[in-house]
C-alpha cells in the first residue's frame, strides 16, 4: 500500500470525517455544541472501555513479554518532556513556565489519538497486528512526562526567583509551593488515570469469560465503541475549530513545533518499539503514543501546578495543531517508518 493509499483510507473513516466536520462547523460559525455532560460521559466510557479491554487482554500475556516494551515506554516518557522543554526554551525562547507547561503535554500521551492509531493498524494489517498490552503501555506513558516537565518548571521557576530576589526589589510573590505529594496524588487520581487503571484491573480479574457479558457494549471492535468515538471526535473537532483562531497568538514557532516535534518523537517511538521487538503494528501505535500530546490529564495538572504558563499556548498546540496533524498525517507516517524499519 502506498503512502497516499494509506492516507486516503485513514481520511475516509467516519471518526476522522466527524473530526473534520466539527472543525468545519466552527469555521462556518454554526451554533452546534455538544453538551459538556455528554462530552464527559463519552470520555469516561472510552477510557473505561480502553482499560477494560486492555486488562482482559493483559490476562493472557506472559509478564516477561511485557518487560522490554514497558522499559522503552518509560524511557520514552522520560525523553519526550525533556526534548520538548529544551526545544521550546532554547530554540523557541519561551519562558520557563510556558516551555514546561507545553512540555508536560507533549511528554504525556493522548488516549484519543491512541484509538485511531490502533484502528488504522487494524485496517491495514488486521486485528492481530497490535500487541494486547498496548493499553498498559499507554498508562505507563501517561504519568512520567507530566511529572518530569512539572518538576523542570517548578525547579526552574524557583531558581529564577531566587536570582530575581538578589537583584530586583519586587519579585513576584512565590506561588504557595504545592507539595510533591499533592501533585502525585492529583496525577494518580486524575480521571483518565483512574479509569484506565481501574478498567484494567477489572479486566484482569474477569478475563475473557467475564468480559463476554459486557462485550457488545465495551468491545473496541464493536459498533457501540466506534459510534461513541465518532461523536467524541466530532466534539474534539469543535474544540479544535474554536482553538484555530488562537493560532495567530501561538506564533509560527509553536505551529512548527506542533508538527515537527511529533514527527521526531513518533520516529523515536517507532524505533525504540522495533528495538524492543515490537512488530510493525505495535511500533506504529507506540510511535503515535510518543508523538501525541495529552489534553485530558495534562491541562488541569499544569494549570494547578504551573499557573504562570499560558493555557493558550499549551491547549492550542496540543489540540489545534498536534492532534489534527497526528490524526490525518502522523499515523500514516509512523506506519511507513515502522514498515521501513521492520522491512515489510
Amino acid at each position: 500500500m502506498t503512502f497516499l493509499q494509506s492516507f486516503q483510507s485513514n481520511i475516509c473513516s467516519p471518526m476522522i470525517l466527524a473530526f473534520a466536520f466539527g472543525i468545519i462547523c466552527r469555521l462556518i460559525k454554526s451554533e452546534l455544541t455538544i453538551p459538556r455532560d455528554l462530552y464527559s460521559s463519552l470520555s469516561i466510557y472510552l477510557l473505561l472501555a480502553l482499560g477494560l479491554k486492555g486488562g482482559v487482554e493483559l490476562s493472557q500475556v506472559e509478564w516477561r513479554d511485557l518487560f522490554l516494551p514497558a522499559a522503552v515506554t518509560i524511557l520514552l516518557g522520560c525523553i519526550t518532556p525533556v526534548s520538548s522543554y529544551l526545544t521550546l526554551r532554547y530554540l523557541g525562547k519561551f519562558s520557563i513556565a510556558d516551555a514546561a507547561g507545553i512540555a508536560a503535554h507533549y511528554g504525556s500521551v493522548s488516549a484519543v489519538t491512541f484509538i485511531p492509531a490502533e484502528k488504522f493498524v487494524f485496517a491495514n494489517l488486521g486485528e492481530q497486528s497490535v500487541a494486547p498490552y498496548m493499553p498498559t503501555l499507554l498508562t505507563l506513558l501517561e504519568i512520567p512526562g507530566i511529572q518530569i516537565a512539572l518538576a523542570i518548571g517548578v525547579v526552574g521557576l524557583a531558581k529564577s526567583r531566587a536570582l530575581q530576589e538578589t537583584g530586583l526589589a519586587d519579585p513576584q510573590e512565590p506561588s504557595p509551593s504545592r507539595s510533591m505529594g499533592a501533585i502525585w496524588h492529583e496525577l494518580l487520581t486524575a480521571r483518565s488515570m483512574v479509569l484506565l487503571v481501574g478498567g484494567m484491573i477489572i479486566g484482569l480479574i474477569i478475563g475473557y469469560d467475564g468480559f463476554t457479558s459486557v462485550k457488545p457494549f465495551f468491545d473496541k471492535g464493536d459498533w457501540m465503541f466506534k459510534g461513541a468515538l465518532t461523536i467524541f471526535l466530532l466534539e474534539m473537532g469543535l474544540v479544535a475549530g474554536t482553538r484555530l483562531s488562537d493560532l495567530k497568538h501561538a506564533g509560527a514557532f509553536l505551529i512548527a513545533f506542533g508538527i515537527a516535534m511529533p514527527i521526531l518523537h513518533g520516529a523515536l517511538g517507532v524505533y525504540l518499539g522495533t528495538l524492543a521487538g515490537l512488530g510493525v503494528g505495535s511500533s506504529t501505535v507506540l510511535g503515535t503514543m510518543a508523538a501525541s500530546a495529552s489534553y485530558i490529564a495534562a491541562p488541569p495538572a499544569v494549570r494547578m501546578t504551573l499557573p504562570e504558563a499560558n493555557p493558550t499556548y499549551y491547549l492550542t498546540a496540543a489540540l489545534a495543531i498536534t492532534f489534527p496533524f497526528n490524526l490525518l498525517l502522523g499515523i500514516p507516517i509512523y506506519f511507513r517508518i515502522a514498515s521501513a524499519l521492520v522491512g515489510q
Binding site: 513576584q172 506561588s175 504557595p176 474554536t242 488541569p300 494549570r303 499560558n310 493558550t312 489540540l319
Partner: protein, 100 residues
C-alpha cells in the same frame, strides 16, 4: 423581623480551584457556603473552559473580619496567577448564629 448585618463574600473562579478555595474558606472559619456553576469571561480572556470546565461562584456569609482574612489569602495566593474575582456586599440575615 430582627435582622443582623453580615458580609457576603462572592468569589468567582475557575472550577479547578474549587477544592483549594473550600479548604481556605474552612481554614478562615467560614461555617458554610453555596457553590453554583457559572460561565463568563474576564479580563484575562483565556478560554480554557472547554477542557477545564466552566467557572464556579462561591457565596459565603461571614463576619467582616473573616471576609477580610479570606480576601488577603486570595490576594496572596490566587489573584496573581488564576482567573479569580471576589467582591463584598453587606447583607441582612436572620439567625445570625448560623453564620458566625
Amino acid at each position: 423581623m430582627n435582622t443582623h448585618p453580615l458580609t457576603l463574600l462572592t468569589i468567582v473562579s475557575e472550577t479547578l480551584l474549587k477544592e483549594r478555595l473550600i479548604h481556605e474558606l474552612r481554614e478562615a472559619g467560614a461555617k458554610g457556603f453555596t457553590i453554583t456553576e457559572v460561565s463568563g469571561e474576564g479580563s484575562r480572556q483565556r478560554r480554557v473552559s472547554e477542557i477545564l470546565g466552566e467557572n464556579i461562584k462561591i457565596e459565603v456569609i461571614v463576619k467582616p473580619e473573616i471576609a477580610d482574612k479570606i480576601l488577603s489569602v486570595l490576594q496572596k495566593q490566587f489573584f496573581p496567577r488564576y482567573a479569580v474575582v471576589a467582591y463584598l456586599s453587606e447583607v441582612q440575615v436572620v439567625r445570625e448564629e448560623k453564620y458566625i
